[in-house]
């Protein structure tokens, strides 16, 4: 189209979140799909136990992989949940409470996951 005019607008939080949902989507397609195909389809839950996780995490590359998967997937998921919830919650007060709740939920679960990846498997002494 001729005579097009572009205007620079300072991006607000929603614009940044909108973009990051798409950037993380691109990262998650290889990360999450490969993880799922390997663990759920090829290895399968019947061959997964403490020993399996210990052997897998003995290679630090898998810990880095899992760390990125955790960070991208859970942030993407909780922001998606926020988008869904905000379609139903319209009062300003409720929106603030739900946003704080989601932030705490995201932070707590992310930290639990990150601690486990860093800490690794603690074999019970038997």
């Amino acid at each position: 189209m001729s005579g097009q005019r572009s205007v620079k607008i300072k991006p607000n939080y929603e614009v940044i979140a909108w973009k990051w949902m798409r950037y993380t989507a691109i990262a998650l397609i290889p990360l999450a799909w490969f993880h799922m195909i390997l663990q759920d389809v090829l290895v399968g839950v019947h061959r997964i136990d403490l020993n399996y996780v210990q052997v897998r995490w003995a290679f630090w590359g898998w810990r880095v992989y899992d760390f990125f998967l955790l960070a991208f997937a859970f942030a993407h998921g909780v922001n998606g949940l926020r988008q869904v919830l905000m379609d139903y919650i319209h009062s300003e007060k409720a929106r603030i409470w739900v946003s704080w709740g989601l932030l705490v939920f995201w932070l707590v679960i992310s930290l639990i996951g990150a601690f486990a990846i860093i800490g690794g498997v603690r074999m019970p002494s038997s």
């Binding site: 798409r22 989507a25 691109i26 998650l28 397609i29 999450a32 799909w33 799922m36 195909i37 759920d40 389809v41 090829l42 399968g44 839950v45 019947h46 997964i48 136990d49 403490l50 996780v53 210990q54 955790l70 997937a73 859970f74 998921g77 909780v78 998606g80 949940l81 869904v84 379609d87 139903y88 919650i89 319209h90 679960i109 639990i112 996951g113 601690f115 486990a116 800490g119 690794g120 498997v121 603690r122 074999m123 019970p124």
Partner: protein, 139 residues
């Protein structure tokens, strides 16, 4: 909660056809995956916080019901990914493809690609479900 009621009855009554169904399926598969992901992060963290509980969590996943759910989970993640890629490509690079006739075709293509990718995975997992869950193939 009236907004919730309006939203759900709207989901049923709204005649948005293909794009509407893709929107719904994207939300359902996304929320389902997030529910599993949350449980999965916590149960995996048991390897560090409560190793003796980890084997119990895994034993639950080995239940045939959970194995069937796992097959659905794989579909959810594949569909959500293919449809998410469609949304990302349209939004970031090809906004003109949101034009309604192209969009309707792309919704159908997305579903076909997702099913084609899912079927081999579902076959392997279905085999394992019969083997471990019901003792087929000498399992």
């Amino acid at each position: 909660m009236s907004s919730l009621k309006t939203a759900f009855s709207g989901y049923v009554r709204y005649k948005g056809r293909a794009g509407h169904w893709a929107f719904l399926l994207h939300r359902i598969t996304g929320l389902g995956t997030l529910l599993f992901l949350t449980i999965h992060i916590v149960d995996t963290s048991f390897v560090y916080f409560a190793p003796q509980l980890y084997e119990h969590a895994i034993a639950l996943y080995r239940n045939p019901l959970f194995m069937a759910g796992e097959i659905l989970l794989v579909f959810s993640l594949i569909y959500h990914g293919v449809n998410g890629l469609r949304i990302t490509i349209f939004d970031l690079w090809k906004p003109e493809w949101w034009e309604i006739h192209d969009e309707r075709k792309s919704v159908l293509l997305t579903l076909i690609v997702a099913i084609v990718l899912w079927l081999p995975a579902a076959a392997i997992m279905g085999y394992k479900l019969l083997e471990y869950g019901f003792g087929f193939f000498g399992g």
